[in-house]
């Protein structure tokens, strides 16, 4: 186990290192940098001034020097300065994390709360009208673009309540913040809940066909006991994986949803920074996302070992 952990940690570091090189090179492959955007909007180009700004931002240095400077800064906890706001990138990114994290947690809670029970019901009532209805609903969850779902929710709020749920940075109580955030969280979580539901269903069905379930029924265990005590406990394992992966990948849905609901979180900030070619923000945010994905994957694998005594990582 110890050797496995060390190998795993080294691989994680290697992956993150590769990601940092990839994102760094990709950003600088783009024809044009922030100075071009500034001068584009000004309508004329002053080459001397352009070179001066590039020098100030360090964009005139060779790409390797720029990269080494970035990584050395990261090691000291210095993320550089944002091009647009000229503030330290850390001060731009950190305050935007909590709201995105809250949205992600709410969306996950939503997806588990709906996905797992509905998936179980769908499996237990396989091939009934209820099962078909739930399957169509879950398939539609995978088909609706989440930004459109968000717009529909906005529209419904306007139509029925004459009110748009706009997030304010200083909301009143805990409950009003929860209420305001749970609307966009539902828009994001619908897709994940559909995924969780489909996986719970197929995983349940597979377990329900196994011999030990037949044995349990044969010895006279009641239906609920078989379904929940015997089957669900085993069926829930792959579901844990998908929940973990979804937790890391929710950021995709959050990008569009934060844009629709005008929520000042990191996900929307990433898109803005990409538009402005604000390298320090984009590369640090992308690294942050990669770290979250890699760490969550690791945690999921470890959770697997804890949940299923049959699995052991050795070698």
């Amino acid at each position: 186990m110890g050797a496995y952990l060390i190998r795993r940690l080294l691989l994680m570091l290697l992956t993150l290192f590769g990601m940092s090189v990839l994102i760094f090179v990709m950003l600088r492959l783009v024809p044009g940098n922030i100075t071009d955007i500034i001068f584009d909007s000004a309508g004329f180009v002053n080459p001397a001034q352009k070179a001066k700004i590039e020098r100030q931002l360090g964009l005139d240095q060779p790409i390797v020097t720029q990269y080494v400077r970035w990584i050395a800064g990261l090691a000291r906890g210095d993320l550089g300065y944002a091009f647009v706001s000229e503030k330290p990138a850390l001060d731009e990114i950190l305050p935007r994390i909590p709201v995105t994290a809250k949205l992600a947690v709410l969306a996950l809670v939503f997806s588990v709360l709906f996905g797992v029970p509905l998936g179980v019901i769908s499996a237990v009532r396989q091939n009934t009208a209820l099962d078909y209805a739930l399957r169509v609903v879950s398939l539609s969850g995978l088909s609706l673009p989440s930004f459109w779902l968000g717009l529909l929710i906005l529209m419904a709020c306007v139509q029925w309540f004459g009110w748009i749920p706009i997030y304010r940075s200083t909301p009143g109580s805990f409950w009003s913040e929860l209420a305001l955030l749970s609307i966009p969280a539902a828009a994001v979580g619908f897709r994940s809940s559909a995924l969780v539901m489909r996986l719970t269903r197929s995983s349940m069905l597979e377990v329900l066909r196994q011999d030990y379930i037949r044995t349990a029924r044969a010895k006279g265990a009641s239906d609920p006991s078989v379904n929940y005590d015997h089957a669900l406990r085993n069926a829930v394992l792959p579901v844990v994986t998908i929940i973990g992966i979804e937790a890391a990948f929710l950021i995709g849905g959050l990008i569009v949803t934060e844009t629709v609901f005008n929520i000042p979180g990191v996900a929307r900030f990433l898109v803005e920074a990409i538009r402005w070619r604000d390298y320090p923000i984009v590369q640090n945010l992308v690294m942050l996302i990669a770290v979250v994905v890699v760490v969550v994957n690791f945690v999921v694998d470890m959770a697997y070992v804890a949940l299923d005594p049959r699995i052991k990582y050795e070698e």
Binding site: S140, S143, A248, L270, I274, V282
Partner: protein, 300 residues
């Protein structure tokens, strides 16, 4: 779909499927066995026809602006209304089918082709090549699909081809992983050993014997990726980093209209979203049926 696949996968179907004759017969058989899949195929067919015959179907030009018709509500001469610039919504949705399907199909095919080659090479030949490829795939999979596509789209610049490439690249690792694990087990099969025994070259075995056996999982995967490719295209366009003007993209139609028209012109928000959802719903229905048919292990 070939008759053989249908018969192979289930004993109870042998009797029913044995009577299937001809293309029409297979189609009817598929429709009876997988009604939801048939509905999905029908939806796809409608959208493909719309894209192909857009010039004949649309009564307006999707790009012509007309100040007098600005924000015209549905009904009247504009069946689905008109946008702020007075462009006909129906025509824009009809032509938007071309963009959506072109990007979906292009990105899926490109991503699957690249993933197939990468997966086959690393699975069949193994060694340092496999190790390198695996680490590369790890790196690519450490970003969510949309984030990867966003960064790719931004660094390639806005155009139809670049959007296709930007969406295809993040699809590669998913495909490569599946093909690789399939290849790993196929490599140990007796028929590969037999081919080697009669003196076939490794490259030929990989292409002629291993590759065809990975096609079933590839098709299952491709249909699943097709839907997400269309969704990612619409999200990129919505965020202003997708297919540029003047192409009418459903996603961008929503970003132009988005929040401000929720109150004043809801038809601008509803119809493009319905189009995206319907296409993706169709591919998902069809994809599920194809998976049930080709991948009996997952069938319930």
């Amino acid at each position: 779909m070939s008759r053989v696949t249908v018969i192979d996968h289930d004993v109870e179907l042998t009797r029913a499927g044995a009577n299937v004759r001809g293309t029409l017969g297979s189609v009817l058989f598929f429709a009876r066995r997988y009604p939801l899949g048939a509905v999905g195929a029908l939806i796809m067919l409608v959208f493909v026809a719309t894209a192909v015959f857009a010039d004949a179907i649309a009564t307006f030009d999707p790009l012509t602006t007309n100040a007098r018709d600005s924000l015209a509500p549905p009904g009247g001469s504009h069946t689905l209304g008109a946008d702020f610039m007075g462009r006909d919504m129906l025509a824009r949705i009809i032509y938007g089918a071309r963009i959506s399907l072109a990007v979906g199909l292009g990105a899926t095919m490109l991503g699957c082709l690249a993933g197939m080659i990468v997966g086959l090479l690393s699975g069949y030949f193994g060694g340092w090549l496999d190790l390198t490829v695996q680490r590369l795939m790890d790196i690519m999979q450490s970003l969510p699909l949309l984030v990867m596509a966003l960064v790719m789209a931004a660094s390639l610049g806005p155009s139809l081809t670049n959007t296709i490439i930007a969406i295809a690249i993040p699809l590669v690792p998913n495909v490569a992983r599946v093909i690789r694990s399939n290849t790993l087990s196929l490599r140990e099969m007796p028929f590969v050993e037999a081919a080697r025994a009669v003196g076939m070259s490794e490259t030929r075995i990989a292409i002629a014997h291993v590759l065809p056996n990975t096609l079933a999982p590839l098709i299952v995967l491709a249909t699943a990726q097709f839907g997400s490719a269309i969704l990612v295209e619409s999200a990129l366009a919505f965020l202003g980093l997708g297919v540029p003007e003047p192409h009418p993209s459903w996603g961008r139609m929503l970003s132009e209209s988005a929040a401000e028209y929720v109150r004043t012109a809801p038809w601008l928000v509803i119809f493009p979203g319905v189009a995206i959802s319907a296409v993706v719903f169709g591919t998902n229905l069809l994809g599920d049926a194809i998976r049930d048919m080709l991948d009996p292990r997952q069938r319930f």
